[in-house]
């Protein structure tokens, strides 16, 4: 082909190299905008040895991706390396010319980023995109490259490689696309693989399988990795070493075991204390939010960047001059950027807040009986007409929720969680079945037909605080609007007082009433959303992934706030989430959904300990846990979640279930299992016999001192 590049030979780099694969020293990167220079990364050092996996963690905006793009020398038109060096196998990457750089990219260093759909070319077939890599770098023929691509696709455990190679990206599911992106990165067997949040867009069970794959392939090809994530659990599972970033700087780096168990930086400690661990409950290990907010690059404080949020801050010492990275005596190449690393008593237990006793559960507030919601969709969206298909988004759901109770609804994308929320809210009406609020049926009343009392008694907190506030109305106005809609307060003055009370309730300063939404951080916006939801004395609040769009350090604060208000107002909270750690932490009962079905329903303890529904078991195993003392049973689910348009016959989970063989007579493939009662308040939808269920081992076990 005319377009094919001539073989860009190797030879840019020596073949043998003993030192680190990647050595970043004192790297500083800035972006230049019209208004100012934004220092995104400052004085960042780290090195990756051959075959080693280095984890890079930190909250969004701390500069992780900038480091990765800096290594790739692809910072865009306004980004520039303003100091330090990046050496790859001893060669300074900044000194390479355009041709040399091109020879290294793809062959020596490959990168994978977050959204698989966006990183594949929609107008090119998968095969075409894969074979390009070795054809450019190794000068091999099209047929050879094709054979290599087929091998690689099989290596990333995709079925039917030939068909996959001939498809377009949109014909694959998200998980399959991510595997293709991995295959593409490994086509020329690079020595260094940079992964930028490679699984954030995926569901937990798919994520677990992809992470597993990355680990295996890394071992198989001896690839060094720079693994970027905000999820400490994931880093623990994949990496040998870790580097924690805060506000553009590396604050602590060391071997995984050292940093997880003997952390020497207050930020690392605070980070660990703010995430829930599924092994522990709230009384043993309450969450502790990091106070304050992440500083913007141009608003960093003098001295230690973490100073304003640090519990160990000492005025006159921490705020004097920039803090340098210093070695920690114990541990392997363990370093921390804290002046007081040696003074702090790291073993001191966390100062726990006042213990809250769980409130008494009241009467049943919400009862859902045999609820079904089907959508009719045109089989071919563009041309309309023709036959329609039925998407069974919710399939005979039944459950009840009491006053002051937190019922968690967990499941992966497309399982029907949001549809359920919409039916409750009246945004959709049910296809059949009943939804009873305090005994009266509401399933057929759309939101327009609901009276103010009903509207105010079921409220919602949305996943994305960024879209739900009106950008041109002050915070106070928006809350007052909600009060007006709910018919609360006799006069404007009364509503204003109530609005200020609500701000107190969600722990926002009263002065925020005058602010516009854009002047608020994500966590603060979510607080406004919560204030609005509780404005009318809601009986039920549906929180659809309320914290998943927020940074780790503010998640804890928002979660605690939600629970605090719930306790005070005796509200029933329906907490929709895919994050089992947080579900375990805050909920009283759990409802597990899969493909529109409730597969398990029980108290939190019942659901989190055996016997499990096979899907719950896999879900538990998939959750990354940031605790080195936890041993997990490894259950990798094959394949993707089936499409709700085309569900499998029989048990919805049968395509991926590892217990299926234990059910005699192929029952799983032909019959939808009935809901069965295992214990008081514990139901599962599975054909497995009692003795098989009883033989299940716990997924998560503690190995103290490990």
């Amino acid at each position: 082909m005319m377009l094919d590049d001539p073989f860009q030979g190797a030879g840019v780099l020596p073949d043998t190299h003993d030192g680190p694969i990647l050595e970043i020293s004192n790297l500083s990167i800035s972006f230049f905008t019209r208004a100012r220079e934004i220092p995104a990364v400052m004085d960042f050092s780290c090195s990756v040895m051959p075959g080693e996996a280095m984890g890079l963690v930190g909250e969004s905006g701390c500069g992780k991706s900038t480091v990765a793009l800096g290594v790739m020398q692809d910072l865009g038109t306004n980004g520039r390396i303003v100091g330090g060096t990046i050496r790859y196998k001893g060669r300074d990457l900044a000194s390479l010319g355009a041709d040399e750089l091109r020879a290294i990219r793809g062959r020596d260093i490959a990168m994978i980023y977050q959204e698989p759909m966006a990183s594949l070319n929609p107008a090119m077939r998968i095969g075409q995109q894969l074979i390009e890599v070795p054809m450019i770098h190794e000068g091999i023929s099209r047929t050879q490259a094709w054979a290599r691509a087929r091998e690689m696709v099989a290596d990333v455990r995709l079925p039917d490689p030939e068909r996959i190679l001939r498809s377009y990206p949109h014909q694959l599911s998200g998980g399959q696309q991510q595997r293709i992106v991995i295959a593409m990165a490994l086509m020329s067997k690079p020595s260094l693989l940079i992964l930028d949040e490679p699984t954030t867009a995926l569901d937990v069970t798919v994520e677990a399988a992809v992470v597993d794959l990355i680990k295996d392939l890394g071992r198989k090809y001896g690839t060094s990795m720079l693994f970027i994530s905000h999820n400490l659990g994931l880093v623990l599972e994949t990496c040998d070493r870790i580097c924690v970033m805060y506000s553009g700087e590396a604050v602590e780096t060391g071997a995984i075991g050292d940093v997880f168990n003997h952390m020497r930086h207050p930020y690392t400690q605070a980070l660990f204390r703010s995430i829930p661990l599924p092994g522990a409950d709230k009384s043993a290990r309450p969450l502790r939010a990091i106070p304050g907010n992440f500083p913007l690059p141009h608003e960093r404080p003098k001295g230690c960047n973490f100073g304003p949020r640090c519990d160990y801050f000492v005025a006159g010492r921490c705020d004097m001059s920039d803090v340098a990275m210093a070695s920690i005596a114990q541990g392997d190449r363990h370093q921390s950027r804290c002046l007081r690393a040696d003074d702090i008593d790291w073993a001191a237990p966390m100062v726990a807040g006042a213990q809250q006793t769980a409130p008494e559960k009241g009467d049943v507030v919400l009862e859902v009986r045999d609820l079904k919601k089907y959508y009719e969709v045109a089989a071919n969206a563009l041309f309309g007409g023709g036959e329609t298909r039925v998407v069974k988004a919710n399939e005979s759901l039944s459950f009840a929720a009491r006053e002051s109770e937190t019922l968690a609804i967990v499941g992966e994308s497309g399982c029907g969680k949001s549809t359920l929320a919409k039916v409750l809210m009246g945004l959709e009406t049910a296809t059949s079945g009943e939804v009873l609020l305090d005994g009266s049926a509401i399933q057929d009343t759309p939101i327009e037909a609901r009276d103010t009392r009903l509207v105010s008694s079921i409220q919602m907190v949305f996943q994305n605080p960024f879209d739900t506030l009106n950008p041109s109305m002050s915070v106070g106005r928006q809350i007052i609007r909600a009060l007006e809609v709910f018919g609360i307060g006799a006069s404007d003055a009364e509503r204003r007082t109530r609005m200020l009370d609500l701000l107190d309730l969600v722990k926002l300063p009263r002065a925020f009433a005058e602010r516009m939404p854009r002047q608020l951080s994500g966590g603060q916006k979510q607080r406004v959303g919560i204030a609005r939801a509780f404005a009318g004395g809601a009986r039920i609040v549906v929180a659809d992934e309320p914290v998943s769009a927020l940074d780790v350090s503010v998640q804890a604060a928002v979660t605690d706030l939600l629970m605090d208000i719930q306790r005070r107002e005796k509200t029933t909270l329906l907490f929709i989430s895919h994050d089992l750690s947080i579900v375990r932490y805050l909920s009283d009962r759990v409802l597990v959904m899969y493909l529109g079905h409730v597969v398990e329903l029980g108290s939190t303890d019942q659901v989190f300990s055996p016997p499990y529904h096979p899907y719950t078991e896999a879900l538990l195993s998939a959750v990354p846990i940031a605790d080195t003392s936890v041993a997990k049973q490894r259950i990798v689910l094959e394949g993707d979640i089936p499409s709700a348009m085309n569900p499998p016959p029989g048990c919805p989970f049968q395509t991926r279930c590892r217990w299926k063989a234990q059910v005699p007579g192929g029952l799983c493939e032909t019959q939808v299992p009935p809901m069965r009662r295992l214990a008081e308040g514990h139901d599962i939808k599975c054909h497995l016999a009692m003795d098989v269920l009883a033989s299940m081992d716990p997924v998560i076990t503690f190995a103290p001192g490990a």
Binding site: Q8, G106, P122, E132
Partner: protein
């Protein structure tokens, strides 16, 4: 797909009916008819004579009925003419007896009527003129589309570069220049023996004598040559180039910032290959629609350019028909124009679907 095309065609026919009725209404306004009567009959007719003339020639009666006759869904008018003692009617040829004539004669029967000015069947006139315009449009497109796409791609592939700024300025310049300005400028610069380039070239001995290009396209009706046809073609193309180029540039610039382009770059693909293999197809999806929708705009350009260069195509005919009050011819021209506009829209919708794999196979 078949259903989609069927539905679009249905909507198209409905639109065409509405539009032709509007044109029919406007051309059949009382003053136009009066002018027609006076030119065809006697310039000094009295008002009563005008009315009787119109009545005798089938221009009386309700507008809707006459529209129906013109369409061919209402039987053509038939009446006995006292002064000449003959049967006359819409469908009756001179000397024919009413029994032999067709009952319907309108658009649906392929009968576009009779041009009162050129004394010929409208269908015959339009056919030849359309063919001439077709040739002009073909060449205009052949110049315009490749030029515009190349300019757009080159400008968009490195957004903000000097080349981008230069090409974008050029594009904005061409869209801001109407055909009657650019046409005149081209004639002065390239087709005059007194001014512009031609006398210079003659002085330098590069051109024997005369002009670089011909300022009139009359001779192109018999045979197209580089010399006689370049100016009308580039005048039409000039206006469209800027518009299409700007759309292509926007689309290209957007594609170049996409993640998958970064992926290609980080795979070590060289820039030229990125542009040609990874970006081009994605970048062309949006301009394709624009190119198709450009055809109706070109029709207005055709009117001006054909008049300016005295090329007797469709546009020229339209102008003539309008100024001569040649009602039937004018109506036929509008039908053709409406038809072209609607068909290009249909094509652009279908083409969009074919270019975009995400829509095609879902």
């Amino acid at each position: 797909m078949a259903f989609f095309i069927l539905r679009r065609t249905g909507v198209m026919i409905l639109t065409a009916l509405c539009l032709t009725f509007v044109v029919f209404f406007l051309t059949n306004l009382a003053p136009n008819l009066e002018k027609l009567a006076k030119t065809q009959g006697n310039a000094r007719m009295s008002d009563a004579e005008v009315t009787s003339w119109l009545d005798r020639n089938g221009y009386g009666g309700p507008l809707v009925v006459r529209y129906g006759e013109w369409l061919g869904v209402v039987p053509g008018w038939v009446r006995f003419d006292e002064p000449t003692g003959e049967w006359r009617g819409r469908c009756i040829l001179r000397g024919q007896s009413p029994e032999d004539a067709d009952r319907f004669c309108g658009l649906l029967q392929g009968d576009l009527g009779y041009s009162t000015v050129s004394n010929a069947e409208v269908a015959a006139i339009i056919g030849g003129r359309m063919a001439l315009t077709g040739v002009l449009m073909f060449w205009a497109f052949a110049v315009m589309v490749p030029t515009a796409l190349v300019i757009g791609i080159m400008a968009g592939m490195r957004e903000g570069s000097r080349m981008d700024r230069a090409l974008s300025t050029f594009s904005i310049g061409t869209t801001a220049t109407p055909e009657y300005v650019s046409g005149v400028v081209f004639i002065i610069l390239l087709a005059s023996s007194q001014t512009g380039l031609s006398p210079l070239l003659v002085d330098w001995g590069w051109l024997e004598s005369g002009t670089l290009f011909l300022g009139s396209a009359r001779s192109a009706m018999d045979g197209v040559t580089f010399w006689n046809f370049t100016l009308p073609v580039i005048t039409i193309a000039f206006y469209g180039i800027g518009y299409i180029a700007r759309m292509t540039r926007a689309s290209m610039a957007e594609v170049m910032t996409a993640q998958y382009i970064r992926t290609a770059r980080l795979k070590g693909v060289r820039f030229r290959t990125i542009v040609l293999r990874h970006a081009l197809r994605n970048a062309l999806i949006a301009p394709f629609t624009v190119i198709m929708l450009q055809i109706p705009w070109l029709l207005t350009g055709v009117v001006i350019v054909e008049t300016l260069f005295n090329y007797n195509g469709f546009g020229w005919t339209l102008v003539q028909a309008a100024s001569n009050n040649d009602i039937e011819l004018l109506l036929a021209c509008s039908v053709v124009a409406v038809f072209v506009v609607l068909v290009t829209q249909l094509i652009s919708d279908i083409g969009y679907v074919f270019l975009n794999p995400r829509i095609r196979i879902s």
